[in-house]
């Protein structure tokens, strides 16, 4: 399907973004999935597309998002330990968007990935997780491709409005233009503070490397331990077809492939 044939017109679209963390250096960056969500939003021909962040409006990373060419960027002023859910809910209720994009899991904080689910539950909207592409939008229904493990894709259609978390398999985000980002105006909104009480009881420490699981051989005698340590792979009791005709052998292979459902 070419771009000309498919319709991507829809009402207001929001994308919720957070501050990311570079996996190697640990520096703040635009979140990978969040940036892909913004890219997905920019590719829709929406009535209005804006990105929302709850946190510190002076954070320079926000300019990286703005530098992608987004017309409107809103920051709901919050402290680091505040709960973003109620302020997002308020904002969404006021602005009535058709689609709300998020990443699947934030790169900072608790990164539980619960935010889109809680939003969808509170708004009573459907929630689709791991969107790879928006194929088309017709009236009040959107056709999406979901990213599955092993590079597979599933086609689903979902009623608008909905919350979608964008998968890492989505289209790569465009580069951010530095000057555009600097020039972009960021709307700051003052919102009521609501501290996330549970987090105050947590103890957050730098991640401890996890021990690799050892291969333990549970036997009582030394001969078997020796065997386990040295022996080559023995026949695992698989079936061997030797004397059948080629057609029968091929049929046996084919049947196994069908049984394992790898042939479609």
């Amino acid at each position: 399907m070419t771009n000309a044939q498919r319709s991507l017109e829809c009402g207001k679209v929001l994308s919720l973004v957070a501050i990311g963390r570079h996996p190697q250096s640990g520096r703040p960056r635009r979140g990978d999935q969040d940036a892909k969500a913004v890219e997905m939003g920019l590719n829709l021909s929406a009535e209005e597309f804006s990105i929302i962040h709850a946190g510190n409006p002076d954070n320079p990373v926000l300019r990286h998002y703005a530098g992608m060419g987004v017309k409107k960027m809103v920051v709901l002023k919050q402290d680091q330990d505040d709960d973003a859910l109620p302020v997002f809910l308020d904002y969404i209720a006021k602005h009535d968007p058709q689609i709300v994009f998020t990443g699947q899991r934030s790169e900072s904080g608790e990164s539980s990935g619960m935010l889109p689910y809680l939003l969808a539950e509170k708004l009573a909207w459907p929630m689709v997780s791991g969107v790879a592409e928006i194929v088309a939008i017709h009236d009040d229904e959107a056709q999406l491709l979901l990213a599955l493990p092993r590079g597979q894709r599933r086609a689903v259609s979902v009623k608008m409005p909905f919350v979608a978390s964008v998968s890492s398999a989505a289209k790569e985000a465009r580069q951010s233009a530095f000057a555009v980002g600097l020039r972009a105006g960021i709307e700051e909104h003052d919102v009521a503070n609501c501290l996330d009480q549970a987090t105050t009881q947590w103890q957050v420490v730098p991640a401890k490397p996890r021990a690799k699981r050892m291969k333990v051989v549970k036997t009582k005698n030394a001969a078997e331990r020796m065997k386990a340590a040295t022996a080559k792979a023995q026949s695992s009791g698989g079936k061997v077809l030797l004397k059948e005709s080629v057609d029968e052998k091929a049929q046996a292979v084919f049947d196994l492939l069908i049984e394992e459902k790898v042939i479609r």
């Binding site: 539950e121 590079g151 894709r153 086609a155 009881q201 401890k208 792979a233 695992s236 084919f254 196994l256």
Partner: protein
């Protein structure tokens, strides 16, 4: 190793020495003592001797060579040990484990979580119940540690139906009110279901947990750069290798029933099935179905055609790559890609150790080879001894037939 004859020198010595106090008893045990109807001791003259290696009977009156009598096979290694059965009747509480069941079988991740569930029970009178959806091929629930099984079957929950699946889980929650809900932190649907259940019940789930007891859990946060020590929640989403799987007990696998309710709520998400993707565009390391070629391939065009027909991702052994028949990016093994395919078909690959390392995580291996004795045939779940070109052509024809049949059914 099981076929090695083991001698018992002590028994041999006693059998040779007619003055030994145990001699009589041992002879009686070897031969067996029979008494006639009058109580008279009967000696069976045919019981004498043993069968020699050439099939002839040997009688050795000097008892000099008692080797075969006294030797026994060291068969303990291959003996199937019956594990003790862990019985839970009328449990006080349940711990629900919602398994991914990728391909209808318990994954290693699922088994780890069942292991953790037993750690959480910690000697109390509780049962681990496994909840699974859709197709089920697993036959070893008992040794994996499943006390109770809840299986939702049917067209509607199979495949992609998160809204319906969550309704079923809510029923389970209502009926059994489990002490813990354990989910695998995985892209196969575990994380998604856990988040949905957490949102529905209002219970704050703890995700990315890698160590847990009943009071405290340690979870990863901020893209795995921090450890969060916090109180345990009823819903835990667990990372791989969070505990040791069960391997020393058998369990009952009793089926639990869940009262069924009809849901009239229309689903807002409609599934339109899987899309056809180009199998060679899928990264080799995560391809599900790999057709791999080695030195035994003579006709490469047939191989490529078969891979395309079957919809398999192409792989290759080192030899095939070195000979220039396949690109380096397709190499499977220690110096190439470590693959995780569910089904791996090795055509004309004898199975060098480096190659076997690369396919260590594959579930089903099918070997097509001309050599019965090669390592790949030993590793394979199904080995076919045939000429590769002929067999691939036969597979091609079968696939054509299959597609024709499918097309006819649609009409």
């Amino acid at each position: 190793m099981s076929d090695v004859l083991r001698k018992d020198p002590r028994t041999e010595r006693i059998l040779r020495n007619r003055l030994h106090p145990l001699h009589e008893a041992l002879i009686a045990r070897q031969v067996g003592e029979t008494r006639g109807p009058t109580g008279l001791l009967r000696k069976n003259p045919h019981n004498k001797g043993y069968m020699g290696p050439n099939g002839l009977k040997r009688i050795d009156r000097s008892n000099a060579s008692v080797g075969l009598l006294t030797s026994h096979k060291a068969s303990s290694a291959n003996q199937q040990v019956e594990l003790p059965l862990h019985i839970v009747e009328n449990p006080d509480f349940y711990i629900m484990v919602v398994a991914d069941m990728v391909g209808g079988r318990l994954s290693a991740h699922d088994k780890d979580i069942v292991g953790l569930a037993h750690e959480l029970i910690d000697g109390r009178n509780g049962a681990v119940a496994l909840v699974c959806f859709g197709e089920m091929k697993e036959s070893h629930f008992d040794t994996a540690g499943v006390d109770r099984l809840i299986h939702f079957d049917g067209q509607d929950v199979d495949g992609f139906a998160p809204e319906l699946q969550i309704q079923k889980l809510l029923q389970v929650e209502q009926q059994y009110c489990p002490e813990f809900w354990l989910f695998p932190e995985s892209i196969h649907g575990g994380t998604d279901l856990a988040c949905r259940l957490s949102a529905k019940t209002g219970e704050r789930a703890v995700s990315q947990v890698w160590s847990a007891n009943r009071q405290e859990v340690i979870s990863r946060g901020a893209s795995a750069s921090t450890d969060i020590h916090r109180k345990a929640s009823r819903i835990l989403v667990l990372l791989e290798e969070c505990a040791q799987p069960i391997d020393e007990t058998r369990h009952q696998v009793k089926v639990l029933t869940v009262s069924s309710q009809e849901f009239s709520e229309p689903s807002l998400i409609v599934d339109h099935g899987l899309m056809a993707v180009d199998p060679n565009a899928v990264p080799l390391s995560e391809a599900e179905f790999i057709l791999s070629a080695g030195n035994g391939i003579e006709d490469w065009s047939v191989f490529h055609q078969t891979a395309q027909m079957l919809g398999a991702t192409e792989g290759a052994s080192r030899v095939a790559v070195d000979d220039g028949n396949m690109p380096r990016s397709r190499q499977v093994g220690a110096s190439g890609t470590w693959v995780t395919a569910r089904v791996y078909v090795a055509v004309g690959i004898s199975g060098a150790i480096q190659h076997m390392q690369g396919i260590g995580q594959c579930d089903k291996v099918i070997a097509i080879n001309t050599d019965v004795g090669c390592d790949m045939v030993k590793r394979a779940d199904l080995a076919v001894i045939a000429d590769s070109t002929e067999l691939l052509q036969a597979l091609n024809q079968l696939m054509v037939q299959y597609q024709q049949n499918a097309a006819q059914e649609e009409i």
